[in-house]
C-alpha cells in the first residue's frame, strides 16, 4: 500500500467513524470511559497502534506512515488518545528492552485499551530533578515491594496500571540504582489521590505506595538500569510521538481559519503567520528526523531542541487564538472553547517531560559543548 493509499484509508475511516460531537473531557470518569470506547473502535479497525508489529495489534507502519496517520488524525479533530502514556512511552520501552513474555502479555490489551496506563515518574521532591527519586523497591521473594509517593501521574486517576522508576539499591546515588517497574493501580497497598488541574479536571494524581508487591516479571530490563532505560525512550525514535507534528499542523490550520473568520485583522497577521510557519517547520523537521532514523540514525540530545520548540509554539499559537477571540476567550465550553482548553493544555508543555530550563541546559552543554 502506498503512503497516499494509506493516508486515504485513514482519512476515509475517520470521516466515517468520528464521534459527532466532542467527547466529554478525558480526565473525568465519564470522559475517560468514552475515550476508552473510541480507542476500542480504533483498535477494531487496526488503527490504534499503526506503527507496532502486527503481532501486537499494529500494522507495521513505517515512520512516514505513522506521521501521515497522525496528520490525518489531528486534522480530522479526533479525540485525544487516552492511552498515550502506554502507547507512546511504555510500549516503545517494552519493544526495546522488554521480554517477549512482557510484550505478548501487555501490548495487546494496551492496544485494545483494555488496560490503560499512567506514568509514575515524578515525586514530591523529584520534579525537574528527576534523579532525586526516593520511592523504594525492596527485594522480596520473587519480586519487589514498592514504597513511596509518586505524583503528577497523568491519567492515574482512572487508569488500570502504571510504570515508573524506583530506587532498588538504597546505596545508589542519583541516576544509579534505579529500576524500571510496572504495577497495577488496583494492587493492595496502592492509594490514588486524584489532583485537579488548572482547568478543573483530574488529569493527574498522587500515588501512595505501601509495600506494593510487584513480581520479577514486571521489571523492565535489568534491575538497576532503570535510568538508562527510561532516558532511552525519551530519545527513542518513537519518542517522536510525544508531540506529533500533526497536532500542531491541525491547530495552525484552525488558527488560520479563525483569523480569516475574524476578518483577517492585519495586526495579528504576523503572529498567525508565525504559528503556521512554526507548525510547518516542526512538520518538516520531524520528517527529516524520521528519514534519518529510517536510514539507521539515532536520536539523542537533539530531541531537546524539539521539546522547547513545540512547547513554545503551542503556547504562542493558542495565545494568538485567544487574542483573536477577545472577550470570548475566557469562556469554557461552547463553539470556541477548545482554544481555551488547548491553551491550558499547552501551558503544561514547558513543564512536563523535563522542564524547558532543563532542556536548554541539555542543549547548551551536550549539543553546543558549553562548559558545565
Amino acid at each position: 500500500m502506498s503512503l497516499a493509499e494509506f493516508r486515504a484509508e485513514v482519512r476515509e475511516w475517520l470521516r466515517a467513524h468520528l464521534p459527532a460531537g466532542p467527547l466529554p473531557p478525558v480526565d473525568t470518569a465519564e470522559g475517560f470511559e468514552r475515550h476508552r470506547g473510541w480507542e476500542r473502535e480504533l483498535a477494531a479497525a487496526g488503527l490504534s497502534v499503526v506503527s507496532w508489529p502486527a503481532a501486537y495489534g499494529g500494522r507495521d507502519a513505517s515512520l512516514p506512515e505513522w506521521l501521515a496517520f497522525e496528520e490525518e488524525y489531528w486534522a480530522a479533530g479526533a479525540p485525544v488518545r487516552v492511552g498515550q502514556n502506554g502507547l507512546f512511552l511504555l510500549a516503545p520501552t517494552l519493544l526495546a528492552w522488554g521480554t517477549d513474555e512482557q510484550r505478548d502479555r501487555l501490548l495487546p490489551p494496551m492496544a485494545r485499551a483494555d488496560e490503560i496506563w499512567a506514568q509514575a515518574w515524578s515525586e514530591p521532591d523529584a520534579g525537574s530533578d528527576l534523579a532525586a527519586i526516593g520511592a523504594r523497591a525492596a527485594r522480596t521473594d520473587g519480586g519487589w515491594l514498592l514504597t513511596g509517593t509518586k505524583t503528577w501521574s497523568s491519567r492515574a486517576a482512572f487508569a488500570e496500571k502504571a510504570f515508573g522508576l524506583f530506587r532498588s539499591d538504597p546505596a545508589g546515588q542519583r541516576h544509579r540504582g534505579l529500576t524500571y517497574l510496572m504495577f497495577s493501580l488496583r494492587a493492595e497497598g496502592v492509594t490514588v489521590r486524584p489532583i485537579r488541574q488548572l482547568g478543573g479536571e483530574t488529569g493527574f494524581a498522587e500515588i501512595f505506595l505501601d509495600q506494593v508487591f510487584v513480581p520479577d516479571a514486571d521489571v523492565v530490563g535489568t534491575p538497576g538500569a532503570g535510568w538508562r532505560i527510561a532516558m532511552s525512550t525519551a530519545s527513542h525514535e518513537r519518542g517522536l510521538s510525544l508531540r506529533s507534528p500533526g497536532r500542531f499542523s491541525a491547530a495552525a490550520g484552525r488558527l488560520v481559519e479563525l483569523w480569516r473568520r475574524s476578518g483577517e485583522p492585519a495586526e495579528l497577521a504576523g503572529q498567525v503567520a508565525d504559528a503556521w510557519i512554526g507548525a510547518r517547520a516542526y512538520q518538516l523537521h520531524t520528517r527529516a528526523t524520521a528519514a534519518r532514523l529510517a536510514a539507521g540514525g539515532t536520536l539523542g540530545a537533539e530531541s531537546s531542541l524539539g521539546k522547547v520548540f513545540w512547547s513554545e509554539l503551542d503556547i504562542s499559537l493558542h495565545e494568538t487564538a485567544l487574542e483573536l477571540l477577545g472577550p470570548e476567550a475566557e469562556v469554557r465550553g461552547g463553539p470556541d472553547g477548545r482554544w481555551l482548553d488547548g491553551y491550558l493544555f499547552a501551558l503544561a508543555g514547558p513543564i512536563y517531560a523535563g522542564t524547558n530550563e532543563i532542556q536548554r541546559t541539555v542543549i547548551a552543554q551536550r549539543l553546543l559543548g558549553l562548559p558545565r
Binding site: S128, L198, G199, E330
Partner: protein
C-alpha cells in the same frame, strides 16, 4: 503625578492588611461553587474601608474620591484575587451613573438612576455588574450581583442575565444578558458609556497589576523554598533572570496606571490614550508574571489545590475583558502622541 501619595500608600496598606487577614482564597473557592456569602462579606468589609464608595460622589453617600484612589484600591483587590465584578461595581457602574446624573439633558433621569443605586453601591449593600458590547458582551458574575445593566449603543437597560457560562477563572462566570427595562437613551448614554468603559478598563488594569505583583511575590517565595539539584531553584540564574524580567514589567506598568487615573479624573482629552496604554502594559506585565509563575512553580502550580491558580486564571480572564490588547494598542495610536 503617577507616584502614590502618602495617603494612597496608607490606604493600600490598610486594604492589604485587611485582605491578608481574611481568607480571600477560601472565599474565592466558595464563590466558584456559587456560594457567594463569604465573598460578599469581604466586599462589605471593603465597603467599611471606603472602597466601594471611592468613585461615588458625596451626595450619593460616597467619598467622592478620585479615580486614582479607585485604581489604588483595585490594585489591592487584584493582588488578593478578590472574587466578584471589581471593575464593574467599584468603577464602571458608578462612573456611568455619575456621568448620566451630571449630564445636562438627561439630568433628571440620571439623578433618579444614581439615587436608586449609588448609595447602595457606596455602602456595600449592592453589587453591580454590566455588559458593554462589544468590549464586554457578557456581564461578569451576574449571579452574585444585585444590579445587572446593559449599555448597548445609546441605550442603557436594566438587564436580565441568561444562563451563566463558566470562565477560565473558576471564581467567575459570564452571562449573556437581554434588556428588560429601558433606563435611559440618547447621546448622554453614549457619553456615559464611554466614561464607564474607560473607568472599567482602568480598574481592570489595576486589578491585573495587583495580580501580577502577587504572582511575582508567590514565585519569589516558592523559588526560595523549593529545592532541586541540592539548591533552592531561585538560586539558578535561569529562574532569577525570568523573575527579574517580571519585576521590570510590573515596575514600568505602574506609572502608566497612575497617569491614566489622573488624566481620566481630570477629564482630559488624553484619557482614552492613557487608559489604553495602562491596560496594555498592565496586561502584558501580568501575563508575563503568570507565565513565569507557572514555570517557576512547576506542576504544583498547574493544580487547583494550590492557590496560585486563582491568580493565574484571573489574569487570563481579565486579559480579554474591557477591550483586547489589539484594540487598546490601536486606541493609543489614534490619540495625541505629542509629548509635552
Amino acid at each position: 503625578m503617577p507616584a502614590l501619595t502618602a495617603e494612597q500608600e496608607q490606604f493600600a496598606a490598610a486594604l492589604h492588611d485587611a485582605l491578608g487577614a481574611a481568607d480571600v482564597p477560601g472565599a474565592a473557592r466558595r464563590w466558584a461553587d456559587c456560594c457567594y456569602q463569604p465573598g460578599r462579606a469581604l466586599w462589605r468589609t471593603l465597603a467599611g474601608l471606603g472602597v466601594t464608595g471611592l468613585a461615588v460622589a458625596e451626595r450619593w453617600g460616597g467619598a467622592g474620591a478620585s479615580l486614582a484612589d479607585a485604581a489604588v484600591a483595585c490594585e489591592e483587590l487584584g493582588r488578593h484575587a478578590l472574587p466578584g465584578p471589581v471593575p464593574e461595581s467599584v468603577a464602571a457602574v458608578p462612573a456611568l451613573l455619575a456621568a448620566l446624573a451630571d449630564d445636562g439633558p438627561a439630568n433628571e433621569r440620571g439623578d433618579e438612576l444614581a439615587g436608586r443605586w449609588l448609595p447602595g453601591l457606596a455602602a456595600g449593600d449592592l453589587m453591580a455588574t454590566l455588559a458593554l458590547p462589544p468590549w464586554l458582551p457578557y456581564a461578569a458574575d451576574a449571579g452574585a450581583a444585585d444590579v445587572v445593566l446593559l449599555a448597548e449603543e445609546d441605550v442603557l437597560w436594566l438587564a436580565r442575565p441568561g444562563e451563566p457560562r463558566r470562565s477560565v477563572d473558576p471564581a467567575r462566570t459570564v452571562s449573556p444578558v437581554t434588556g428588560r427595562e429601558k433606563l435611559a437613551g440618547g447621546p448622554a448614554v453614549t457619553a456615559a458609556t464611554a466614561r464607564a468603559l474607560d473607568a472599567g478598563a482602568l480598574a481592570c488594569a489595576a486589578q491585573l497589576l495587583g495580580a501580577g505583583r502577587a504572582l511575582l511575590a508567590a514565585s519569589v517565595r516558592h523559588a526560595g523554598q523549593r529545592v532541586q539539584f541540592g539548591r533552592p531553584v531561585g538560586a539558578f540564574q535561569a529562574v532569577q533572570h525570568q523573575l527579574a524580567g517580571v519585576a521590570i514589567g510590573l515596575e514600568f506598568a505602574r506609572p502608566l496606571l497612575g497617569a491614566a487615573a489622573a488624566t481620566l479624573a481630570a477629564g482630559g482629552s488624553c484619557a482614552a490614550r492613557d487608559v489604553s496604554a495602562a491596560k496594555v502594559a498592565c496586561t502584558d506585565a501580568a501575563c508575563r508574571a503568570a507565565r513565569v509563575a507557572l514555570q517557576v512553580h512547576g506542576a504544583i502550580g498547574y493544580t487547583q489545590e494550590h492557590d496560585l491558580h486563582l491568580w493565574l486564571t484571573k489574569v487570563r480572564a481579565l486579559t480579554g475583558a474591557w477591550g483586547s490588547q489589539s484594540w487598546h494598542r490601536a486606541r493609543v495610536l489614534s490619540g495625541d502622541l505629542s509629548w509635552i
